[in-house]
Symmetry: D2
Subunit: 440 residues, 4 copies
């Protein structure tokens, strides 16, 4: 009916190989069915909106449904896959690596899977790292450990050099597990591959502990993150209760998006103030943060503040922008700044108080995945493998409206997902904390 | 455009009271918006299906979107709410109770919330229990503890007597936290209330650790359940490894649906056989379970079997059906039966083996909610409160396609949600365990 | 001064090899000192008692102090060690295996360590198991997992055959990790070795989750056991609170000694009755358990009962004694018996109640060691290695009065350690539960 | 035999009141016995040493055995007790408070227990805090939460003012839960009470997460501390593995003593360097820390460093000494200093590396006690109560050689317990890490 889909996935070419998976294409025989190429999942699920689009002859935006195809592109026994992990740690990376290797091996019969050490560096011979043979035995128990067995690095490498390495090693499929920068890098690799007319597909598995990948419901590791953050916040509450006018500041991850801070505050309802990058706030004045904090202490004699690392950047307008190796703008440290400002403020008015400053980021991101994320990682990896074997390229696998789909990389890196200040999550935070609006 | 909605919610009457919530009805002002009455969420989100329906002039099934309304039905200061918890324990009940009380009190200004002790028994004076005053102080820390502070009971009480109690205590809103039987009971109470033309609304918060409530994505406590089951399964694996030809059988909850068994097996990928109520299987013969188990032991010398409590009921065809106090058919104990059959089988062929039988059900269901369920419970309770204050009745609050909605109770109790043997979850289990089909 | 020590350790002969450990024999140089052979630790540390003994010219009983000796017996590079694990699982076995291997390898330079598979069975060729090469790489991460990587079995094997295997494999040192039966077996092996005049030493590392090894302060895995039992007991409490007159029975390990039951009840002070093997009790009558339980329910409407598996054997006087493969008398199942008796009692008096029966034994014993036990296992293993390299034999390593010592195996297997009903631990349990004496 | 005991405890006067505890003074009747006043426990349990002392007519140092006395000093129904908690948080404070209240109430029948808010400040009316009535209902569940329900503060208050408050409130027994400074304060209060000839006893319950209290085996909260530190260290290891030449620095508590650092490194054997206050070390030069760290990275490409907060103070000789409110010398921050020095060093030699700095102190000290500490706290509190009711004063309760004893406060505050660099604990750390000596 509609000629063009908004979120179309590239493929290397027509799939002609019969899938080795013994699935069905008949409904009702109690065997999982192959996914038809044209199956799609709606982006927007508001009745009115979809109604309006369809009757207006517009194509409602939709995603390609993820899953195993009856015909695949690669002949498994001749296929070499590789996995690379980039950027900061996040719970569940090893689960994804493990599941990709096991599914390629046991499900499709791909015998050769390579591990690229230390991120994109491992694809640049100048760094002198060696590719690793990822056998099923090597990955068997790695999900018990946090981190990534492959090592990681930040920052870009020369795309042409990386594609040379891919060619020289006969890699047919490259799985890139990483965040915004990594996915852009993966897409650039995919573009260079197309330019050279190679038969290599590039798949992104979005990794961001901040949960800030555009379009998708959630990213792996995110739920583990606030699972681990929760008792830390409870303990911060204990610290604040343990002294007269005790203030605990917990800095959590969230460079551009406050999902972890907001979720952790909801999970552990002892938080009085949540500060996230999406909101601007002022410190001084009647409606400022400092005076709200004082009101809280006056009445209850303790307070817990959760601040996302990227919050309050409006307070640093004069600072020069510095970028890290991944190309992300280095943020000023809001946590320590806040601590200093609170300190100055209460000293200036001769007010008795004690501050504890807690920064658990490295404790959280290097933890192993919890059972819920373990399942999620395993399913993500399965779907990544199905898409790859079908010859799809330059896509990420993700969950939208509770269904797994494939999305072009270029769509998810267009912008970051943000906490909607008018949305239900933030409203729940406001309800739970009772915090006022700190007028800019 | 369409005259009738499939999932229409009853209301007590027009809402005329201005909501005390300081929300917005303007998009873009960074304040959460009231939900319009007509906002609806699609049930089916396959593009093709919705397309077909709309162009065929059919109304695509959709649910009423959950959230706060600008006009509400009850005047908060004159409103009395009550909460009752029924059936077996499930992680998160106290979180739901706590959030209902806190939101009614702090958000809407409802000052009187009653707790009904020991389930529907507490609404029948014959049992001699007294209603409890649920103050904010009393519920402050209850989420730290598993179970339910109100106590629970199974089984029905006389509907007319319960409605008498509701009337006599001036209850305007009754929140019923419970499973299939409880929700049916709640609907019967709602019907009697309508018959008497009372202005009382009845809301169901679906509680089932088995995750078997129809139509909704997941029920609260379910993720905590397999979170806790996961290390138990790992330990069962250790037991099986610790002896020659060691077999560990872990019986998990799941009377009619195998979601916990399937999910726990996915989370902890050491399971070799998953048996759930949705599948029939045979024990004997070439393709039977016993001979598959023997093959596994022959090659690896250990095996882990996860069995849902309601699995294999086809093996007990001669047994008489007994019902429990909640009206559920009492299942034969498949776990012990399996243990006995394995024992007989291997002894009959003089095969060396050791079985360990593990039944952790009571350990799991009485645990406190994990952080992810804590958030989920809190949000469920918020939405239940918003719907109740708007005078809606005989509905449950739940999540569909990752969005919170209101659904008529009668729709969710129509049948139980099952693991789809052709679905992706079961396929992932088959992939992970490598288990064959045990032909009936 | 005294001619003979009560707890003298056998040695293979004089130690003449210089230890490769770069330790000191000078106090004050900030380097750990070698232990002198004559250093001994008092058994009884009551001032009066020791006073009486010494002035009465009696030798106060004392143990050989554990630690590295300056002269050792074995030349490390020519030494082969072996490790065997027997009996039921217990948290920490893999920690002990790992530390023995690492210390032998890195500290002393022993290059060959063998693992005996499936307990003493692995020393009997009739069972067809093969010895395993325990490299440092193989044991690197095993402490993360519960169970034993070597596998275990119960029961004795022919001592002569086992010593043949030891001789044929050139084993110089045999570490036996196991309980009462295993230690007796180890001593018998040591005796046969002496009879054959071999230069092989046999060391016992006492393993009993029940903490019932005579003379020593605590056995490894015991603290992990009640660490894991504690939340289970809390959840059992939630179950009992969740219904009217709810009774939760938690059966814990403890065949002959109630240390786990008593300690878990102290750690989680929600337990109302603790029943252990050391006490006789009666069920019926005025001062019987059943009527005490009823009094508790009458006043509080819930109760938690913790029962050690070997408790109440006086109630089964007519039953025939059956022994398990380890030669332990098979106990009647007190947990299920209690459940049945309570059920009968309350039904006979038409009393409303609900019982939940919880048996978490397999969940507990197969868990990985907690950090405290991890340290303890590591230190035990170190000391076992030091003693072994010095040519000592037929001893166990243990902690007495908070100091590590070597004790002849024959002394620790003479009887089992029991909870002293007049001691402080049991008094603390009585204080905490408030339980009466159930007069026999 | 000996005229004088080294560790004699003061008492208010002869005990004449019959204890309400139904204990026994007959051995063998299966009832716990009252402790005789003269029962004592040896300090040194080396056979040779004790032998030498006794035969040399010297009194071997010994401690008064803790436990309930048959005659007590206070009449329970007329007795008022108070509890104060001072200094930093430590796991288990609430457990101690709870057990003191419950044992006083249920065991002895003391009806009035007061809580002093915010440490010694609460005994100085100038601060305006009000004493809290500690009912059994108020303390029932507090052990589930970390911190102290009473609040705490640092630093001294005027002793005379505090004793005035004690007199004015009719307090007979004051339990002081705190560290070195608090115990000195408690002793000063006891001295002033003696000077005024009041009948008030003062008991110290030693609280120091650093485990640095002189003479006693361990302090409460210490085992929980490294229990919680352990996964953090494992995660730090993951961080170091996740990048090329990754270095993780974990700063742990330990102002003057390195017990937590040493124990955590033993519990989680992935640590390569442990730096504690007891050792001096140098950074630069051939045998310095920096060059050892480089050697480690050269060979393994990752390293984990655990540093106690008070380590390396020799590196700050020029800094001025600053004292905190408790009178402890403020230490320079060795963690950040180390990070900076490592950074400078590797940059100066153009060496690729990444550092992660982790300071989990506030997360650890505010956690709830684990089950092992829960038991320990409960028993400590019991013994404190028994000693107090017997009219003993100016003593602490502690464990020595695995037995509970009473020790004069003045003895335990004489000096701090240190890690013995020649002792077994440190030797085990050296063995586990393989770290060289960093020559001063």
């Amino acid at each position: 009916m509609y000629t063009e889909n908004k979120y179309a996935i590239s493929t290397l070419g027509p799939s002609t190989v019969k899938s080795p998976l013994g699935l069905s294409s008949v409904k009702g025989d109690k065997v999982f069915n192959f996914i038809e190429e044209e199956e799609r999942v709606l982006e927007n699920i508001s009745l009115d909106e979809v109604n309006r689009q369809i009757t207006g002859k517009e194509a409602p935006p939709s995603y390609e449904k993820a899953g195993p195809r009856e015909k695949i592109y690669f002949r498994p026994t001749y296929t070499t896959a590789a996995i690379v992990t980039c950027g900061g740690l996040c719970p569940g990376i090893n689960n994804v690596i493990r599941s990709i290797v096991l599914r390629l091996h046991y499900l499709y019969g791909v015998k050769k899977v390579l591990g690229v050490p230390y991120g994109f560096e491992g694809l640049n011979p100048a760094h002198g790292h060696e590719l690793i043979d990822l056998t099923t035995d090597k990955v068997k128990d790695i999900q018990e450990f946090g981190g990534t067995i492959l090592g990681s690095s930040r920052g870009a490498q020369d795309v042409s050099v990386m594609v040379d390495t891919i060619e020289q090693n006969g890699i047919d499929i490259l799985f890139c597990i990483g965040g915004d920068g990594t996915l852009k890098g993966a897409d650039a690799i995919g573009e260079e591959i197309e330019r050279r007319d190679l038969r290599v597909c590039v798949i992104g598995v979005p990794k961001t502990i901040d949960n800030d990948i555009n379009l998708i419901d959630k990213s792996f590791g995110f739920e583990t993150a606030f699972d681990i953050a929760s008792p830390i916040i409870r303990n911060a509450h204990n610290e604040s209760l343990g002294v007269y006018n005790g203030i605990s500041i917990v800095k959590l991850m969230g460079r551009d998006s406050g999902f972890i801070a907001a979720s952790a505050a909801l999970a552990m309802q002892v938080v009085n103030f949540v500060l996230i990058p999406e909101m601007n706030f002022k410190l001084e004045g009647e409606n400022g943060f400092l005076s709200s904090l004082k009101k809280r202490l006056d009445s209850r004699h303790h307070a817990v503040v959760v601040v996302a690392e990227g919050a309050g950047q409006n307070l640093f307008t004069n600072a020069k922008k510095i970028k890290d190796a991944s190309g992300n703008v280095q943020h000023q440290d809001i946590g320590l700044y806040l601590k200093q400002k609170i300190d100055e403020y209460f000293k200036s008015i001769d007010y008795k108080f004690t501050i504890k400053y807690i920064d658990p980021s490295y404790i959280i991101r290097s933890a192993p995945a919890n059972p819920i994320d373990s399942i999620f990682c395993s399913r993500l990896a399965n779907y990544a493998v199905h898409g790859a074997m079908a010859g799809k390229t330059r896509f990420v696998v993700g969950m939208v409206n509770n269904h797994f789909v494939y999305i072009p990389i270029c769509e998810v890196v267009r912008e970051r997902k943000k906490v909607d200040l008018e949305g239900e999550l933030w409203f729940a935070v406001i309800e739970s904390t009772g915090q006022p609006t700190f007028m800019e």
